[in-house]
């Protein structure tokens, strides 16, 4: 993990992607790397995990060595037109903006290359050792990673196509995917499908599969537990054991490369991210 400049973090919705993204950034920054984290779709989650109230499209330092920004679609489109398509500022871009807005909602791949364009552009800018992306959930991930090909198939020539091809280069040569899952049926199955899809279509190499919120088994026999009277303690021990047992089955299916324990208690999102960073660091 963290061997490429572009690091994409995804997973089924609600598994703790943003916490892991922030944890990875903290780990990288602990080694002196200059890191940019980008919130792609739901930036609020990433914001609270890096310890700020909200993120803007302007990168802002949120922690020594870590800057953060959130994708804002109109701003991304404007930047895409000026910097990536190199349309001069003086040109009448209002119509072009409209046209691309329409395209982004209809033609396959356009919306995705406009938003994925930002992280790739930041990689080109060479200001960062790592650009870590809190990517859209698994359901939408493939359409983002396939976007350059999708665009190439509908746009026969021109600057949009050229830019899409340049983006494909980065995705092919300097990008890795880290997948996060919790140890239950849908997240595990969707993660395994994503791993297979990445391989089958040679999209982006998966360098890490992280199991999040894993409950550690209690080292005690069920008949010993039966000595506890009915009540909260017995309930808590039985729930713990049942959750751990169910998770064991799904962990065996997933075979994660890294496991993060369930971080119980009243930790703030930033504290959770810091703990994840420490755990990743200790590995």
């Amino acid at each position: 993990m963290l061997d490429n400049r572009l690091v994409v973090v995804s997973g089924k919705g609600g598994v703790g992607k943003s916490a892991v993204t922030a944890g990875l950034a903290l780990k990288a920054a602990a080694h002196g790397a200059r890191v940019l984290v980008i919130g792609m779709t739901e930036p609020l989650g990433l914001a609270e995990h890096v310890g700020v109230e909200r993120l803007t499209y302007e990168a802002r330092e949120v922690h020594p060595g870590i800057s953060a920004l959130a994708i804002d679609r109109p701003a991304a489109l404007d930047e895409y037109i000026r910097l990536q398509l190199r349309v001069p500022r003086a040109a009448p871009t209002a119509q072009l903006t409209r046209a691309l807005t329409v395209l982004a909602e209809t033609a396959p791949g356009i919306r995705e290359i406009i938003t994925m364009g930002k992280p790739v552009f930041e990689v080109w800018a060479s200001r960062w050792d790592h650009v870590i992306v809190d990517a859209p959930p698994l359901g939408q991930l493939a359409s983002y990673l396939r976007a350059p090909q999708a665009v190439a198939s509908i746009v026969p020539a021109g600057r949009i196509r050229d830019q899409a091809m340049a983006m494909a280069d980065v995705l092919n040569s300097d990008c890795e995917l880290i997948l996060v899952a919790t140890a239950s049926e849908l997240p595990v199955n969707e993660t395994l499908e994503a791993v297979a899809l990445m391989k089958a279509e040679s999209l982006v190499p998966v360098t890490g599969v992280i199991a999040n919120r894993v409950v550690e088994p209690l080292d005690i026999a069920a008949r010993t537990v039966a000595r506890l009277p009915d009540g909260p303690h017995r309930g808590a021990v039985e729930l713990h054991m049942a959750v751990a047992e169910d998770q064991t089955t799904w962990l065996a299916e997933l075979s994660p490369t890294f496991t993060i324990p369930y971080l119980f208690g009243l930790l703030t999102p930033y504290e959770v991210a810091a703990r994840i960073g420490d755990l990743l660091e200790a590995a």
């Binding site: 609600g14 409209r98 046209a99 807005t101 909602e105 209809t106 509908i154 919790t182 005690i220 506890l228």
Partner: protein, 334 residues
């Protein structure tokens, strides 16, 4: 008319299971019930006898009053186009790659298709109770906004964006497409892409009147439905649950899934010695803190919105048959 319950919320909170549990409960009380689901986990699909993807409601094996249907978005879209468009326009649209792209990934399209299916079943009058599990996009909220979004899309909002004017005819549109600004767009885009898209929208627009009328029906059914928002006490789904208040018709019920008993919050030490005592105290410390957090979050929610809040106990293994679904459903009824 059927009683409709829409079960919504962020992904991963168990709303599909709770939708199924609600339908099983109604069926076992003697009402004929249909659950319309989107993407059930394998074990739940098995429990409902849904191993094959089917748009049409099928009776659930072993249940006399219960039917289940799985939404097939692509099929619903095709049905919608065939119903509302002239035959030659329908053929052209269904073969058009832009149309495919919209049907596949425009979130409003998926949600709208689910709403259309729901309305069709409501209007058939075949069921006393219909329970709808919303598609997993945008935290469920766009299911409620989809009819309006669809009217805008089909009604040419995007087309007007291209031309910057009111809807022109085909000829006028080509005149506009020849303007210098659009030729700049073409040189950047590398082809007559905009003309192709304009053609597509002109075809799509012929569906407008039919779809606009249907969309109003869908909206009316949604306004009459019982809305259940499912969440857990985790921050991400909670944030989604908050979004339902103030943006749509107020939800009727908020279900906190995976809840822990309130008396776990301050249980104290077990009083047992040795290993058992240690394990019990450790488990209690961990889950007691979670219980404390959960009851605080639930109280905040009902105080803030005055909405009925129900806690559904944490089941470590999800229900695998209709009996356990019925048991789960009991936690939902007052």
């Amino acid at each position: 008319m059927s009683g409709v319950t829409v079960v919504t919320g962020a992904g991963g909170v168990g709303k599909t299971t709770l939708a199924a549990a609600t339908a099983v409960g109604a069926a076992r009380r003697g009402e004929s019930a249909l659950v319309l689901t989107v993407d059930p986990a394998r074990r739940l699909a098995d429990a409902l006898g849904l191993e094959e993807l089917g748009n049409d409601p099928e009776p659930v094996p072993g249940e006399s009053n219960l039917w289940a249907a799985m939404l097939d978005v692509t099929a619903s879209w095709e049905a919608m186009v065939n119903q509302h468009a002239e035959p030659d326009v329908a053929d052209r649209l269904l073969a058009n790659p832009y149309f495919r792209a919209i049907a596949d990934r425009f979130p409003a399209a998926q949600s709208y298709a689910a709403g259309e299916e729901m309305s069709r079943y409501i209007e058939s009058g075949r069921w006393d109770v219909i329970v709808v599990d919303t598609p997993p996009s945008a935290g469920g909220i766009d299911f409620f906004e989809a009819p309006a979004n669809m009217r805008n899309l089909i009604g040419g909002r995007l087309l007007r964006w291209i031309t910057g004017a009111r809807l022109p005819g085909r000829k006028a549109l080509y005149r506009i497409a020849a303007r210098p600004a659009l030729r700049l767009a073409d040189s950047v885009l590398g082809g007559p892409l905009l003309e192709e898209i304009a053609d597509f929208f002109i075809d799509l627009r012929t569906l407008h009147d039919g779809i606009a009328a249907r969309a109003r029906h869908v909206e009316r059914h949604l306004a009459e439905a019982t809305i259940v928002v499912v969440t857990t006490s985790d921050p991400t789904p909670l944030r989604e649950a908050h979004r339902f208040f103030g943006s749509i018709e107020a939800p009727d019920l908020v279900v906190f899934n995976r809840a822990l008993p309130d008396d776990w919050a301050d249980a104290g030490p077990s009083g047992f010695e040795g290993k058992l005592g240690m394990v019990a105290d450790k488990a209690m410390e961990v889950w007691g803190t979670e219980a404390h957090k959960g009851s605080r979050v639930r109280a905040e929610f009902s105080d803030r919105y005055g909405v009925r809040v129900v806690a559904v106990p944490w089941m470590p293994t999800p229900p695998t048959d209709t009996d356990s679904l019925e048991e789960l459903g009991r936690a939902l009824t007052p």
